[in-house]
């Protein structure tokens, strides 16, 4: 089904925020697709990196709902190839930051049984807390 979207000054706010967080000028993206064509994980993504750039250009917050921003491995292939020298991986990072800063806990540490805590590798716990707690 084809969705209708709105483009209005209201959307500028989101674009500005991502510009600021990433330090990039996202409107510079010319939608050439170089980032997507070279991205080693693109086939695991629900939208391509250049599509991510496009949606941010239009200021659509729905970009945060896609998995692609989490699939991105920050490998910098896109960054070193973008003909407009945009650091695409920083944009993905900025989008992740926006979600992380909402400080939502995806796991409840207190609910994990004592026995499990005892046998789980420490590194797994630390990393789970980092990724899944706000």
């Amino acid at each position: 089904m084809i969705k209708k979207i709105e483009i209005s000054p209201e959307n500028e706010k989101f674009l500005k925020k991502v510009n600021e967080l990433s330090g990039q000028v996202i409107t510079l993206c010319e939608q050439c697709g170089t980032c997507s064509g070279g991205c080693p994980l693109v086939t695991e993504m629900d939208i391509t990196p250049s599509q991510m750039m496009r949606i941010v250009q239009l200021g659509q917050k729905e970009v945060l709902d896609y998995k692609a921003i989490w699939v991105c491995a920050s490998c910098f292939t896109c960054t070193v190839r973008c003909p407009r020298q945009i650091d695409v991986s920083k944009v993905a990072e900025a989008l992740r930051q926006i979600i992380l800063r909402q400080a939502v806990d995806h796991i409840d540490i207190k609910a994990i049984p004592k026995e499990e805590i005892a046998c789980l590798p420490q590194i797994a716990l630390v990393s789970a807390c980092r990724k899944f707690t706000g």
């Binding site: 010319e30 939608q31 050439c32 697709g33 170089t34 980032c35 997507s36 064509g37 070279g38 693109v42 086939t43 939208i47 391509t48 250049s50 599509q51 070193v80 190839r81 973008c82 003909p83 407009r84 020298q85």
Partner: protein, 649 residues
Amino acid sequence: MKIGVYVCHCGGNISEVVDIKQLTSFAEKQSDVAIVRDNAHMCSDVGRNLVLEDIKKHNLDRIVVAACSPQFHGKTFMDIVKKAGLSPYLFEMANIREQCSWPHFDEPELATRKAKDLVNVGIAKVKLDESLERKSMPIGKRVLVVGAGIAGIQAALDLGDAGFEVFLVEKKPTIGGKMAQLSRTFPTEDCAACILSPKMADVPSNPNITLFTNSEVEKVSGFIGNFEVTINKKPRYVNDNCVSCGICEEKCPVKLPNEFEQGLTTRRAIYVPFEFAVPYKYVIDEPNCIYFQKGKCGNCKKVCPHDAVDFEQKPEKIEIKVDTIIVASGYDIFDASEKKVYGFGTNENVITSLEMERMIVHEAEGRPTRKIGNRIAFIQCVGSRDEQIGNEYCSRICCMYATKLSQLLKRTDPKRDVYVFYTDLRAYGKGFEEYYKRAARTGVKFIRGRVAELIEDPETKKVTVKVEDTLARQIIESEFDLVVLSVGMQPGEGTGKIAEVLRMTRSPGGFLQEAHPKFKPVDTLNDGVFICGCAQGPKDIPDTVAQASAAAARAIRLMNKGEYEVEPITAVVDEDLCSGCATCVSVCPYDAVKTEVKDDKRVAKVNEFLCQGCGSCSAACPSGASQQHWFMSSQLKAMVGAALGEEEE
């Protein structure tokens, strides 16, 4: 002293921001101001006549026009002041548009205050203006044209036909440039050789053109109307006895990649560059000839029935004098091996568009050089629009030549599968959009996406293209027999060399800089030096030819009258103050200052025909001896004073 001040509304550009009433009544209060007027368009006939009649009727002796920039209309008003019988340098322009109403559109009150200051500065300066006159210099009708691609050829023919004496210098053994290598030309598909070769043939038959091939301009000194040029002519080692029978070539043991054919075929060390080369004479490639490298062989000399091979020829230095110069040194194609992800140079099935031009010529002539295959991909913007390799500009030709090459391939063999992967398809010229449509009708597939990388199959040597189709938002990974890189243009090595010899300014991309992008597109900042073709920037053949004719016309405009006017805004040295330190001599970019001994004292002297009025020496002079006419330090001080509000309110 009676000063007239004229304020322009610029059709609202100024008057919508600056309060004209306030400005005129301010001007009226300044000392020595006799008349103040305002007009909707000072540059119009009506506005100009105001100035003309006031000067005559009211005996005005100095004029200030507050309007746009002097770059834009300075000359318009100076001409009027001159027409009224005054020195055109008793005139000042206050720029209240670019420097006031435009940038300060949102602060009308402050803008009005600034406009008053600017007018005040103009009045302060005009009071101290000297009555300078432009000087006339005799000028002849000799022109040096550097580079004999289509640009240089066209300019030389236009000038020669108009009766001017042309010296055409080409560094290669033949004229023709890159156009000689092309198959057909978009969008009309004329055969390049068929339309170029008659023009090439016209060059030696034109009595007014002296052609130097295998030659380079080594040194240029002097100035407009008086350039002294040293040409370095390399020996051909084949004299005029040569009838191009080709017997020598058959006996030459050396085999080299043929550069004209982009290495698709080979040539010998003694060779003619191509079938329609001008001059059509053999030449020996010295660095690759066995005789010159090892002192042996000499086969060609032994077999030549006309005694045309002459190993004793020496390089010649030829000195000529010319009045104007046209630089038409063209471009080089981008070196595709710099774009590492495409593997050019290591993968035999990744080629450049220029190679494809030659392959198509050979295929059409029924003697193919190599297999083209059935699946062909073109990759656009290689070396252009790419900050990763440092070229920001669009090369302007590659979209259309790919449109051309792809449909030529498809039309000769409709079974071929031809794709063009592009960033944006730019079909901006006359007939281009229609030509693009024709390619689509032929069945060429255009896919929007810049190719990210190419992967070679180590066994089959076929090439996989990885790209996002940015319209369908899908990733394409597909194998091709041949990948053609649509390489862009770069300012050639030859253009760099001549720019250095002539000390020309270059634009950010490295191409030669024009004097004004809109109004002086073929003039340069060096008086009497013009540019045309791809040396100035990427362009196709029609634009190149138009520019070449324009450059010829601009040069003719200067030379035709037999004399030309020079600006009197030159440096001048106060000999009493000058200590003879020669600081000015070392900073002058035009070699216009020399020191000389006068009354037992070493002093600097400015050649006012060479001096371009750049002001470097005046700024550098530690004694304050070097000053610039029309910008004397007394004037600059008065202007600063006026700007700081030492006004007579």
